[in-house]
């Protein structure tokens, strides 16, 4: 069943981003980019979501939050790290409070470059994530 591909619901969490990537994620939902064309809905609830868009890097305080949210998502799920903060930690990686990219906390499936990542790349990334999602679903079935 390829329905997963046709209706990926996203969840967005702002790790410690500067809002730059953050609002670009929202902008992708807006009329100009309108990702709902692909059935994407911003659910705002981890239990409903398939794709976890996370912006910003991981720090002491939000690492547990990110893990909690990730754990509350149902399989299959993919994680998209949006923006270079989420990928590598930007130059904030040198700061005392930053551990680095999101992969320090949870496994990441797609990395999106850019500071700030453009909505177009975010769309590309989600679409790329869908392939991973399908893959995971197949594995899930096999294991079941």
């Amino acid at each position: 069943m390829g329905f997963l591909k046709k209706s990926p619901w996203i969840l967005h969490y702002d790790g410690s981003s500067c809002n730059g990537c953050d609002i670009e994620v929202l902008a992708a939902l807006m009329p100009k980019y309108d990702v709902e064309r692909f059935g994407i809905i911003n659910t705002g609830n981890p239990k409903h979501a398939d794709v976890f868009l996370i912006t910003g890097s991981v720090n002491e305080q939000n690492i547990q939050v990110i893990k909690n949210i990730y754990n509350q998502m149902g399989e299959p799920k993919v994680v998209v790290a949006v923006g270079i903060c989420a990928c590598t930690g930007h130059f904030f990686a040198e700061c005392y409070n930053i551990y680095g990219g999101v992969d320090k906390a949870i496994p990441v499936d797609v990395y999106v470059p850019g500071c700030a990542a453009r909505p177009e790349v975010i769309i590309d990334a989600v679409i790329k994530g869908l392939a991973v999602l399908e893959e995971k679903q197949k594995n899930m079935k096999k294991n079941a």
């Binding site: 329905f3 209706s7 309108d34 059935g39 659910t43 239990k47 679903q137």
Partner: protein, 283 residues
């Protein structure tokens, strides 16, 4: 014959409901200057939900949601099987109660508050639904839908106030802004996803499915106002749904107090008032 139409309802209602939901999403998107999803999108969504993991906080949760679905279907079955309208509405209420119980049993703060909000919404909306039944009874002289359909005059002409008031509370039942308080079916809100926060995968699928059944049932209720003119009835039902979409898009979500007050005032003035007028005219 009745059995036949019940089966037809059980099979076709989700299809029609899904298509209406899809059209709803497209129209909404267009109203927001977007392109919107394909019309079959709701089906993709629900089918996807059924292929997802069934995340639960505790298992009873799923059962209650399933009961919600079953009772909605029963209520629709009573309706389309030409049964008793009161019984149908009460079955719908039971369905709704099961939804609330599903939220309660999951024991998570946002769902609990969502449940409480849903109760407030029921408190606001149920009177008008039941009053509609009473009003239709006054016009057609029966609670049996099969008999109502045999009426020769148009109920709408006698009870336009009830019709308007019903359309008003329909906004609550269809979970549309400005009354989208308990589930946040559309935009975001303070309760995350309210009632449905803890539903995931299949149980959310049941919920959506039940919502489609419910939509068809409620549109059927609108149809009854034009029971003697099938075509007009269907057109008006769809028009009302369009108006609901429009209302959804031109309003912010209001707070429960205003919802309760306005719904009751509308029920009392338009609904009950209309009954009184009817009563005095027929004296």
């Amino acid at each position: 014959m009745e059995i036949f139409s019940i089966i037809l309802y059980i099979i076709l209602a989700p299809v029609a409901g899904g298509i209406i939901a899809g059209a709803d999403r497209i129209i909404t998107a267009r109203m927001q200057s977007r392109v919107g999803p394909p019309i079959m999108q709701p089906f993709y969504d629900v089918l996807k939900l059924f292929s997802k993991q069934n995340l639960v906080v505790n298992r009873f949760h799923v059962d209650y949601v399933l009961c919600f679905l079953i009772f909605t279907v029963i209520s629709g079955g009573i309706f389309f099987g030409g049964g008793n309208l009161l019984l149908c509405i009460f079955a719908l209420i039971v369905a709704n109660v099961f939804l609330v119980l599903a939220a309660y049993c999951s024991n998570s703060p946002y769902t609990l508050i969502g449940a409480e909000r849903e109760l407030l919404q029921m408190l606001a909306a149920e009177p008008m639904l039941l009053l509609t039944a009473v009003a239709l009874y006054n016009v057609t002289g029966t609670f049996d839908i099969s008999d109502m359909l045999k009426t020769t005059h148009t109920p709408f002409l006698y009870i336009p106030g009830v019709f308007v008031a019903l359309s008003y509370v329909l906004t609550i039942k269809l979970r549309k802004s400005p009354f989208d308080l308990s589930t946040s079916h559309h935009a975001h809100q303070e309760l995350v996803k309210g009632l449905t926060t803890e539903m995931a995968g299949p149980s959310l699928g049941f919920f959506e499915l039940a919502h489609w059944y419910e939509t068809i049932l409620l549109l059927g209720l609108i149809y009854l106002f034009f029971a003697n003119m099938p075509i007009v009835g269907i057109i008006v039902a769809l028009a009302i749904y369009f108006v609901e979409i429009l209302i959804d898009n031109i309003n912010a979500r209001i707070k429960w107090e205003l919802m309760l007050k306005s719904a009751w005032i509308v029920t009392l003035i338009l609904g009950v008032g209309n009954l009184f007028v009817l009563y005095f005219l027929s004296l």
